[in-house]
Subunit: 194 residues, 2 copies
């Protein structure tokens, strides 16, 4: 079976590109691994995204994104708030592990952030996404905020750290790690040929 693991943060703009590209393809099975970059950045001494902390890099990224979206035929609007709080979306996505709706939820949540400029940290926005794909929003939001599920997200982020993940998106094809949307083609090629 051709499989790829995609580690991503819903707040990450380059994760947006990869999540949409993977949600649209049918060649490989995707294991979706939402996690939080914040704790990993904090260990590096960063209290925010490098795109905020390093002004020149940040300015460049917002020039780069529309070009990248044009290349991949993806919609784009620069979020009015960056990075958005992604913890709620990540907790909900954890509930989608091995569920048929996981890819659709991830894609729609990314589009809410990077096409529609919606606050994905807001329960109403996430409820709207869940409802739009025919799911029980109230039940899922309650389960997402349970202590067990909060612990699962902490464990997921610990797992990312144990894998030496330092940014998002990060892919694995077998044991081989690929960092960044710019390596997604390489990761897919590796997954297809193994």
């Amino acid at each position: 079976m051709n499989e790829i693991t995609c580690w991503f943060d819903f707040a990450s703009n380059y994760s947006y590109l990869s999540v949409l590209r993977l949600a649209r393809q049918k060649e490989v099975i995707v294991h979706w691994k939402p996690f939080l970059l914040g704790p990993i950045f904090k260990e590096l001494g960063w209290n925010n995204s490098p795109f905020v902390l390093q002004k020149d890099k940040g300015d460049y990224v917002w020039m780069d994104m529309p070009r990248q979206c044009a290349k991949y035929d993806l919609p784009w609007r620069q979020p009015s708030e960056f990075p958005r709080r992604s913890i709620l979306a990540a907790r909900v996505a954890l509930l989608g592990d091995h569920q048929p709706w996981i890819a659709e939820f991830c894609a729609r949540t990314m589009l809410a952030n990077f096409e529609h400029d919606e606050d994905i940290g807001n329960e109403t926005v996430i409820a709207g996404i869940l409802t739009s794909i025919g799911l029980d929003a109230d039940a899922l939001l309650t389960a997402a905020q349970s202590d067990d599920n909060k612990a699962r997200l902490r464990a997921r982020t610990e797992e990312a750290r144990a894998l030496h993940i330092f940014g998002a998106p990060t892919f694995f094809a077998g044991a081989d790690m690929y960092w960044g949307n710019d390596r997604l083609d390489d990761a897919l090629a590796a997954a297809l040929h193994r």
Copy 2:
């Protein structure tokens, strides 16, 4: 005329990929802009390459480089010292502005660092490269270390800062900036279509 400007540091491994790729192609005219990343990193509070300061990222980079070199059909040996002092090579390359030997000097110096694991901070190594392409090594090394030329390199690095360059390689096609070897194809496409 199809033109691209390539800003690079001889110590930078991703610059190595781009310098070799550009030296081998004949579609666009390349304006070679060696500069020093060190002063720019220092302004960000970094006293070394992020590939040294961020261990997980550094470990990843040394896994990524052989894969990238295989993709571009380039030789690769991980330097035993990283990053190497690139100031001498940059000063010599400045003398090659508008000279027919500039591309060859840049390519051979990069190969010395990233294929042959030679210390490009050493005068003997640079002299060997200059001699190998039929140039007067003594005369060029003397000119490279003149006060005028040292001032030119400082001005070059100031120019990089004024352009908001924050990493290497960085390309310009017209006014459009592209960061990283992963954007070289996009930069070339932009240069060819303008």
